[in-house]
Amino acid sequence: MATQSEYLLEAEGIHAWYGSSHVLHGIDLRIARGQTVGLLGRNGMGKSTLIRTLLGHVTQRDGHIAFFGRDCSRSKPHQVARMGVAYVPEGRGVFPNLTVRENLLMSARPGTDGRADWTYERVLDRFPRLTERLTNLGNQLSGGEQQMLSIGRALMTHPDLIILDEATEGLAPLIVTEIWNVIADIRESGIATLIVDRDFRRVLAHSDHALVLQKGLSELAGPAADVANDPSLTGLLGV
């Protein structure tokens, strides 16, 4: 039985290893309900590892992870997903041999609180291009279409938290801007989001809080506006 908690996600003292390589060194991260958190850092600083650890993919891990106050420190990925966490991975992760319709419908399930407002029709209304591609296979879609499908699929799980890992990577400027519009819509709908993206200014503009990683350590954390104005930020991001 989940206990009530102010935070949707509480991660404390997270360590992770790949073999003998110690990648994360005691990271703390909290996400309140409906909050947007930006995760920043140069390549190889531990952002994706932190996400994979939170989701249960990295087995060599230590520290405390709780969703809705329920300890998930040793949970497996499918158990975390059932806690109301949706993941839009770098590379999109659509099923290449399923149609758009199948990709969407196979993921549909009510939220942890019974919400079912992100219906198939609502997703198609939000991503009208998918309507024209319903019978196309995942691998027949453009990069932008795949990203819309990936986000639409995540919404159909009625998550409390969506993790977007490099959602705009490799896309044309118009599509990138549209994805940021989608992120704004998600934020306004009350779903919490954890965003990783190279465009740190946009991440900070769309976030309530931010965390900057360097070499697996939390170097800067706080309200996004404070992080944006911190003189060390550009040095940490190498810009």
Partner: protein
């Protein structure tokens, strides 16, 4: 970077994406003989016609430029130029809209339309570059915390602070339509034949 400036740059990028998309469409017609998509071009024109006028420029004039003038005269000449360009904007757009209408009636008017698009896009990029390269760095140096509070609140609002309507949502919906009509790889629409 201050939140207000981040939002201005974000709005610039949205506008730049539409302008580049418009330019791409016109180049596709001119270079590859693609059929013109008039409904798409009209949607884009509506966006670039209303977005700067309703949401973006008023906030710049009323908040960023005005407060900058109160704090320094260092960039007065650039602000004069930028304000003049804001005043000229309706004329540039009028020319663009007229040239599109002419082209829709007469395919022979394509060159005039293409020139008007190039002029408009170049003028807008020059305008945005002046704001980002000249004004914003000085703003970051001279404006006070109180100034930023005012500017951040104005630009951070989901509503047009002057008109008080939910215009950002409308722009987002119009932008979505453009992205979904725009042919791949620039947008999500089907590739042009």
């Amino acid at each position: 970077m201050q939140r207000g400036l981040t939002i201005i740059k974000d709005e610039h990028r949205a506008l730049a994406a539409v302008l580049r998309g418009f330019q791409y469409l016109v180049q596709q017609i001119g270079n590859s003989g693609k059929a013109p998509d008039f409904p798409l071009m009209k949607s884009m024109l509506t966006y670039i016609e209303t977005f700067p006028d309703k949401l973006h420029h008023p906030k710049e004039d009323e908040y960023l430029y005005r407060i900058m003038r109160e704090r320094t005269s260092e960039v007065d000449a650039t602000l004069d130029l930028l304000e003049e360009e804001h005043r000229q904007e309706p004329e540039w757009l009028g020319r663009l809209r007229t040239s599109l209408e002419l082209y829709e009636r007469d395919a022979g008017a394509f060159d005039g339309f293409a020139d008007a698009v190039e002029f408009y896009v170049a003028s807008h990029f020059s305008h945005m570059n002046k704001e980002e390269d000249v004004v914003m760095p000085v703003a970051e140096k001279v404006l006070t915390a109180e100034d930023w509070q005012t500017i951040d609140a104005a630009f951070g609002s989901n509503q047009d602070p002057l008109v008080g309507t939910g215009t950002q949502k409308e722009f987002r919906e119009l932008f979505r339509r453009i992205v979904n009509l725009m042919p791949a790889p620039m947008g999500l629409g089907p590739e042009q034949q």
